[in-house]
C-alpha cells in the first residue's frame, strides 16, 4: 500500500514537473516594500529577456521565511531561493540542500564576462569547503549614523580615533544628550556594537576565529573588547531602557535630538529621513580606530540567491543566477533597494551621500564581516546576543556572561 502511494506521488511529481517545464519557481523573503519592488522589477526583466521561461514567484513574510526555508527546501523546493551569505548558509550546505554553483563562478563564458573577477571580494563569503553555493546581489554598510547639528552645537568633529570617540560621548553626555541610542529588545543591535569593537580592537582574523569557534570567549583578547565596551557602558553613554525598545523605537530619541549617534546598518537612513531628518543634519562616519595599525575591516551583510539541490528546473535557475550577477541588473536592484551592488562594474545610485560614503568605505575595506548572527552559527549567535544585552544592562556581570558563552562555544562547535 505504501509503495502504491509513493509511486502515485512520484507519478504525480513527474507529471507536474513536466507540465511546468519552462516554469521557474522563486521563493523570496522580500515582504517589505523596497525589496518587494526590486524583485518585481527584476522578475519582469528576466521574463522579458527569457520569453520561454515563466516565473512563479512566492513572497514570504520576512521573519517567517527563516523558518519556512527549512521546510520548503526539503518538502517543496523552489528553483531559486534567497538567503544570506557566510555561516548562515552552513546548515543548508551541510545538509546538502543547496546546489554547488562553483561552475557559475569559474566559467568566464557568461554574458557579463568574468564573474570571479567582478565579484572576487565577495567570493570568500560565498565559499564553504572550497566551493561556492550561491550568488550575492546586494550588500550595505554598517557604521555610525549621527546628528550633524548636535555635533556642531557641541563643538565636536567627526571622531576617527577611539579617544576622540569617547571624548565626544563625554561632551554630549555633559550637554544632556544621550551619546548613543540603541534598541536591544530583539538583541541583534548589540551584536553590531560588539562586532565593531572586536574588529577594531583585535582585527578581522581574530573576529573570524572567534565566530568560527577557534578561540575561547574567556580569551584575554575578548576581555580587551569588553574593556573598551566598559568605557561606553559604565559612564552611561548608551540609551537607558534599550532593552525595552526595538531598533526602530530607538530612532525616536535621535529624531527628537535627544540622542546623537546610532551604530547601525544603512537601512536606518530611510526611516530616519521619513521621520524628518535631512542630509543636512544626518551624517555617517566609519567606526573609529581602536588599536592603531590594525587594518580596518567593515561589517557588510550580503544578501544572496541560491539553487536548492532538489530544484526541478536547475537549467533556468542557473540562468537566473547568472542574470542576477550582471552589472546592469545589480545596478537596477540596488537603485530600488537603496543599497550597494556587489558587481564592481555596477554604478551606485547617484546623489545619495550615505551610499557614496558606504561604497568608498567598503571599496577600501581590508575585509568584510557578515554580522555576528551570520558569521557565527545560529545557536552561538543567539546565546551571544543575549549575553551582550545582559552585559549592556549589567556590565559587572561580564565574567559570568563570558564563562557562560564559553560553555556554549564548547558545545556548539563540538
Amino acid at each position: 500500500m505504501k509503495k502504491v502511494i509513493i509511486s502515485l506521488i512520484m507519478m504525480f511529481g513527474i507529471i507536474s514537473s513536466t507540465s511546468f517545464a519552462g516554469t521557474l519557481v522563486i521563493n523570496t523573503d522580500t515582504s517589505d516594500a523596497a525589496p518587494k519592488e526590486a524583485f518585481e522589477y527584476i522578475i519582469k526583466k528576466f521574463e522579458e529577456e527569457n520569453p520561454d521561461v515563466t516565473v512563479k514567484w512566492n513572497v514570504f513574510d520576512h521573519e517567517g521565511y527563516k523558518q519556512s526555508i527549512r521546510n520548503f527546501l526539503n518538502t517543496d523546493p523552489p528553483d531559486v531561493a534567497n538567503w544570506y551569505a557566510g555561516n548562515r548558509m552552513l546548515p543548508f550546505v551541510r545538509a546538502g540542500l543547496f546546489e554547488d554553483v562553483s561552475d557559475i563562478w569559474k566559467d568566464s563564458g557568461w554574458v557579463d564576462g568574468n564573474l570571479s573577477e567582478n565579484m572576487e571580494h565577495a567570493k570568500k563569503s560565498m565559499t564553504i569547503g572550497g566551493k561556492q553555493w550561491g550568488i550575492p546581489y546586494t550588500y550595505y554598510q554598517w557604521g555610525v549614523y549621527y546628528r550633524k547639528d548636535l555635533f556642531t552645537a557641541n563643538g565636536i568633529s567627526v571622531p576617527t580615533t577611539w579617544d576622540d570617540f569617547v571624548a565626544a560621548c563625554a561632551t554630549l553626555k555633559a550637554a544632556g544628550i544621550t551619546p548613543i541610542t540603541i534598541g536591544s529588545k530583539y538583541l541583534w543591535t548589540t551584536a553590531g556594537v560588539f562586532d565593531y569593537l572586536n574588529l577594531r580592537t583585535n582585527g578581522y582574523e581574530f573576529h573570524m576565529d572567534l565566530t568560527l569557534g577557534k578561540v575561547p570567549y574567556t580569551d584575554p583578547k575578548v576581555q580587551a573588547v569588553f574593556d573598551k565596551w566598559d568605557e561606553l557602558v559604565k559612564p552611561g553613554y548608551f540609551l537607558e531602557n534599550h532593552a525595552a525598545l526595538s531598533w526602530q523605537e530607538a530612532l525616536t530619541p535621535m529624531v527628537n535630538g535627544e540622542a546623537a549617534m546610532y551604530v547601525m546598518g544603512n537601512f536606518a537612513v530611510a526611516p530616519l529621513k521619513e521621520a524628518g531628518l535631512r542630509d543636512s543634519n544626518l551624517g555617517f562616519f566609519q567606526f573609529p580606530e581602536i588599536t592603531p595599525g590594525i587594518p580596518m575591516a567593515e561589517e557588510a551583510p550580503t544578501d544572496t540567491v541560491h539553487i536548492p539541490s532538489k530544484a526541478k528546473n536547475k537549467t533556468d535557475a542557473k540562468r537566473f543566477l547568472i542574470f542576477m550577477s550582471r552589472a546592469d541588473v545589480q545596478e537596477e536592484i540596488n537603485k530600488i533597494l537603496g543599497q550597494l551592488p556587489i558587481n564592481k562594474n555596477s554604478k551606485v545610485k547617484k546623489g545619495d551621500p550615505f551610499l557614496a560614503a558606504g561604497l568608498n568605505m567598503l571599496n577600501n575595506a581590508y575585509a568584510m564581516a557578515q554580522f555576528y548572527d551570520r558569521d557565527a552559527p545560529a545557536q552561538m549567535a543567539s546565546e551571544g546576543m543575549k549575553g551582550f544585552q545582559e552585559y549592556m544592562s549589567n556590565p559587572d556581570r561580564r565574567q559570568k556572561i563570558l564563562e557562560r558563552l564559553e560553555k556554549v562555544r564548547q558545545r556548539v562547535y563540538k
Binding site: D61, G64, S68, T75, Q248, E249
Partner: protein
C-alpha cells in the same frame, strides 16, 4: 443566599454598594477603555503622549480604513473563521459519539479511555509540538488551514468528550432502556434519542470551542507561516512588528480581533457559562 442580599441591609450600606459597583466596573474595564480610546485617536495624540485626555481628532473610521486596506486584516479574519468553524463542527461531532459511547456502555476499558481523553486535554502543548509539526509536514498539510483544523479537532475532542460524556451520563437512563426494549438499534438510540437531548450541551460546546480556537496563537505559529492561511491572532502579532509605535492602529486591530468572540459571548452567554461551569457543579 450568600452574602446577605443588599436590600436587607441598612440603607447606608445599600448606597455605598450602589456607588462602589460602577466604580469597580470602571476600574476593571480600564484596559478596555484604554484601547477603545486609542483606537479613535490619531498618531499626533500618541506621539504627544495624550493617552487619557480628550482625543484631538475622531479618527476611528480612518484607522479602521487603514487597518483593513493596508494590511491583510480581512484575510486574517476570514482565515480565523475558516479554522474556527470546521474545528467546532468536527470536534463536536466526534465528541457526541465518544461521549455517548463512554456514558452509555459498560465495558472494561471505559474509564481508562475516558481518563486518557481527560489527561490528553491537559497536556502541555510543547510536548506535542515537534511530532505534530512533523506529522503535518509529512501529510503535506503544513502551512494549510486544513492541517491546523485537523490538529485542533483532534485536540479539542479531549475536552469535548469529557463534557459530553458527563452530560449524557446525567440524562435519564430510562429513556434509553425503554428504547432498547422496543428493539431500537444503538444507532437509532444515538440519533433519535440522545442527540436531540444534547442540544444544550452542543450549543455550549460550540461557543466554547469557537472562543478557544479563535484565540489560539500557539498552534497558528507552529503550523502556519504565510499570510494566506494565518489566523488573526498570529496576524496581529506580525502586524505589531510593522506598526511599531502606531498604537492607534494596533488598538484598532486588536478590537477587530476581539469582536467575534465578544459578540459570540454576549449572544450566547447562558450557554457559555453553562459550558464553562459544567464541571463546577459536578466533578
Amino acid at each position: 443566599m450568600f452574602p446577605t442580599p443588599i436590600h436587607q441591609r441598612p440603607i447606608v450600606n445599600q448606597y455605598i454598594y450602589k456607588i462602589f459597583l460602577p466604580i469597580s466596573l470602571i476600574i476593571w474595564l480600564i484596559p478596555i477603555f484604554g484601547i477603545l480610546m486609542t483606537s479613535i485617536r490619531g498618531l499626533g495624540d500618541i506621539t504627544a503622549g495624550n493617552m487619557w485626555g480628550t482625543p484631538s481628532e475622531f479618527l476611528l473610521f480612518s484607522n479602521l480604513h487603514d487597518v483593513f486596506t493596508n494590511t491583510p486584516m480581512i484575510k486574517y479574519t476570514l482565515n480565523s473563521f475558516k479554522v474556527t468553524i470546521p474545528t467546532m463542527l468536527g470536534a463536536v461531532a466526534l465528541s457526541c459519539m465518544t461521549g455517548f459511547a463512554l456514558a452509555n456502555y459498560k465495558f472494561r476499558t471505559n474509564l481508562i479511555i475516558f481518563f486518557i481523553f481527560i489527561a490528553g486535554n491537559f497536556v502541555p502543548f510543547q510536548i506535542l509540538m515537534i511530532p505534530v509539526r512533523d506529522l503535518t509536514f509529512k501529510i503535506g498539510l503544513y502551512n494549510t488551514i486544513t492541517g491546523l483544523v485537523l490538529f485542533h479537532v483532534a485536540f479539542q475532542t479531549g475536552f469535548c468528550t469529557l463534557f459530553m460524556r458527563n452530560f449524557i451520563k446525567a440524562l435519564p437512563q430510562e429513556l434509553i432502556e425503554a428504547a432498547r426494549m422496543d428493539g431500537a438499534s444503538e444507532f437509532r438510540i444515538f440519533w433519535k434519542i440522545i442527540l436531540p437531548l444534547t442540544r444544550p450541551a452542543i450549543a455550549a460546546l460550540c461557543v466554547l470551542i469557537f472562543t478557544f480556537i479563535w484565540n489560539d496563537y500557539f498552534w497558528a505559529t507552529v503550523l502556519i507561516q504565510g499570510d494566506h492561511a494565518m489566523p488573526i491572532t498570529a496576524g496581529l502579532k506580525s502586524l505589531n512588528g510593522q506598526w511599531i509605535t502606531a498604537y492607534h492602529l494596533l488598538s484598532t486591530g486588536s478590537i477587530v480581533a476581539a469582536i467575534p468572540p465578544v459578540i459570540m459571548f454576549f449572544l450566547m452567554q447562558k450557554h457559555f457559562i453553562a459550558g464553562l461551569t459544567l464541571g463546577a457543579t459536578k466533578g
